[in-house]
Amino acid sequence: MWGMPKFMKPVIVIVLAVGVAAGAAVFLSRGSEEPNEASATASETPNHVEIKGGGHVRGSEKAPLTLVEFGDYQCPSCGAYHPFVKEVLNRYPDKVKLEFHHYPLVSIHPNSFAAAKAVEAAGEQGHYWEMHDAVFEYQSAWADKPDPKPIFALLANRIGINGTVLVQTMDSPEIQARILKDIERGENAKIEAVPTFFINGERTHITLSMEDFAQVIDARLHK
């Protein structure tokens, strides 16, 4: 390349390399969001999943959109998403209902299964969603405790139910079976990360922001 200043060659190589890297990164990120039908990923993480049974529903039964969440009470990102999910239900009271399924990742969140049991036990006393909110909102208070049960009892008392009864009932085989069944549903739906959302059965990536939640919901409502 005659007449080109000496430093231009490396500069061109650097710009090209960064450009190729950017292309590769965009390709890889899209690849995992929108799996190609021919790829192995596509068969492992189907975009449309029918989740049969289970789950707890919050919001209007008649709402046209069902936001299914597979979540883990000890997962910090699920805790971070929680206020946005609540806000969605406040903002779209007749349009969106939440269906929450347990997917505790016990290998990295040792108290997550106990938390799911505590929320289910609160449900037995008719206060599932109050406990669901409390467990997320006070996640940092129990997440690292060797025994989180006393904190769950305190949270139960705080929402107006009997904490002692909650601790006594949370280890019941029925509750445990309900959570295990939800985990099985999550495995069938090929959950790779928590929280994972589905809107009317379609796996949906939503950014941790109210704007993105609103954008996704509005787009689905106008579909």
Binding site: F7, A21, A22, A25, S29, C75, I108
Partner: protein
């Protein structure tokens, strides 16, 4: 053939792809792990930013700097002393290695969750550091 700068450039290129991928995925919902478990936990934790700047963006700046220094070294004249660019790679990657070690520690002992993309980055930083010649021991003759 200047093997070391070529190897460093390839490692930095891989790191650039990794950091760019994380920068894109960071704002696109939960990040799936394929080998480890807890990518989203690590990447949305309070340790994933410094003064509001995502670590993936800082990592990207690091890899582009190392890539640039390595490419400039490749294009230097064969007898050029190369001391500045190589010393730059050695010291910058040394500093990055300390930061990487701290971040692996945060994953292991505080978050108790691992992000495979972050572990890959730590391995790349270590490899770049090991591939960069020590500026004093490899000082060219006067």
């Amino acid at each position: 053939m200047k093997i070391r700068p070529v190897v460093i450039a390839l490692l930095a290129f891989t790191g650039t792809v990794d950091a760019l991928y994380l920068s894109i995925k960071r704002n696109a919902g939960p990040i799936p792990c394929h080998i480890t478990r807890g990518c989203t936990d690590v990447l949305t934790s309070k340790y994933s930013t410094v003064a509001g700047i995502p670590l993936s963006a800082i990592g990207l700046a690091f890899y582009i700097t190392i890539l640039s220094l390595a490419v400039f070294t490749i294009f230097e004249e064969p007898n050029h002393p190369l001391t500045r660019t190589l010393a730059g790679i050695f010291y910058i990657s040394g500093l990055a290695l300390v930061v990487s070690a701290l971040l692996v520690g945060v994953q292991a002992f505080i978050l108790k969750a691992y992000c495979e993309y972050c572990l890959l980055s730590a391995a790349l930083v270590l490899s770049i550091f090991l591939a960069s010649p020590h500026p004093v021991r490899n000082k060219p003759p006067e």
